[in-house]
C-alpha cells in the first residue's frame, strides 16, 4: 500500500495581490468555478478562503509527486469545502492521470487559516504504483 503526505503554507497577501492585479484571469487559471463560488460571499471573493484552497491544492500536488517536467494545471486539483463540511478533493485531467499512475485511491485533507496565513495537509493512500 502506498502512503504519501503533503503540506503547504500560503500568505493571504499573495492571493490578495494576485486578485487585485489580475482579477478574473487569476481566478480562471488557478481555481474551478465551484471553488470561486465557495469562496464568494455576496459579490466579494474572500482571499483567505482562496488561500486555503491554494494551500490544499499544493499539499495534494505534493502527494502526487509530479516529476519536474510533469504539467499539472492548478485548476485540475479541485478543493471543495461547503460550509460546515469537511474539505474534499476532485482531480481531473493530468492530476487524475498522475494519481492513477501513483496508485492513489483516497485523498484526505485538513485546512486551517487565520487572517494572513492559510495551511493545509493532504494524505494520499492507495495500492502500490504501477
Amino acid at each position: 500500500m502506498t502512503l504519501a503526505v503533503g503540506i503547504d503554507l500560503v500568505d493571504v497577501g499573495d492571493v490578495r495581490s494576485a486578485l487585485s492585479e489580475h482579477g478574473s484571469r487569476y481566478l480562471g487559471r488557478i481555481y474551478t468555478p465551484r471553488e470561486v463560488a465557495e469562496s464568494t460571499t455576496g459579490s466579494a471573493v474572500d482571499p483567505r478562503r482562496l488561500a486555503a484552497r491554494f494551500a490544499a491544492k499544493e499539499a495534494v500536488m505534493k502527494t502526487l509527486a509530479p516529476a519536474p517536467g510533469d504539467a499539472v494545471p492548478w485548476a485540475q486539483i479541485g478543493v471543495h469545502q461547503p460550509a460546515a463540511a469537511a474539505p474534499w478533493v476532485q482531480l481531473t485531467g493530468a492530476a487524475q492521470a498522475l494519481a492513477r499512475r501513483r496508485g492513489i485511491e483516497e485523498l484526505a485533507l485538513s485546512i486551517s487559516s487565520e487572517r494572513e496565513r492559510a495551511a493545509a495537509v493532504a494524505v494520499a493512500r492507495g495500492r502500490e504504483p504501477q
Binding site: H22, P66, W74, A94
Partner: protein, 87 residues
C-alpha cells in the same frame, strides 16, 4: 538568449518572486525555489510574465522545470514569443 528577455524576467522576479536573494544577483541557472520562491509566488510570477510579454503559458508549460531558473523561464518565453512572431 535575449538580454532584454532576461532583464524583464529578473524585474518580474524582483517584483513578484518573494525571493530571499535579489533577482538581479542570481545566476541564470540558480534555482528560484532554492532562492525562496514559494508556490503561490510562482503563480504571481507567471501572471506578471504573461502581462509583460502579452502571452499565455500553455498547460504543457505549467511544470516545475519551466519556472526553475531564469534561463528556463527565458527559454520558454522566447519559444512562445518566437512562435507568435512567425504565425
Amino acid at each position: 538568449m535575449s538580454g532584454a528577455t532576461q532583464d524583464t524576467v529578473r524585474q518580474v522576479l524582483a517584483d513578484q518572486g518573494r525571493l530571499a536573494t535579489s533577482a538581479h544577483e542570481l545566476a541564470p541557472s540558480d534555482s528560484l525555489y532554492d532562492a525562496g520562491m514559494t508556490s503561490h509566488a510562482s503563480v504571481n510570477v507567471m501572471l506578471a510574465l504573461e502581462d509583460a510579454f502579452d502571452i499565455e503559458f500553455p498547460d504543457r508549460m505549467l511544470n516545475r522545470n519551466v519556472f526553475e531558473t531564469i534561463d528556463a523561464i527565458s527559454a520558454a518565453l522566447e519559444e512562445l514569443t518566437g512562435a507568435e512572431a512567425t504565425a
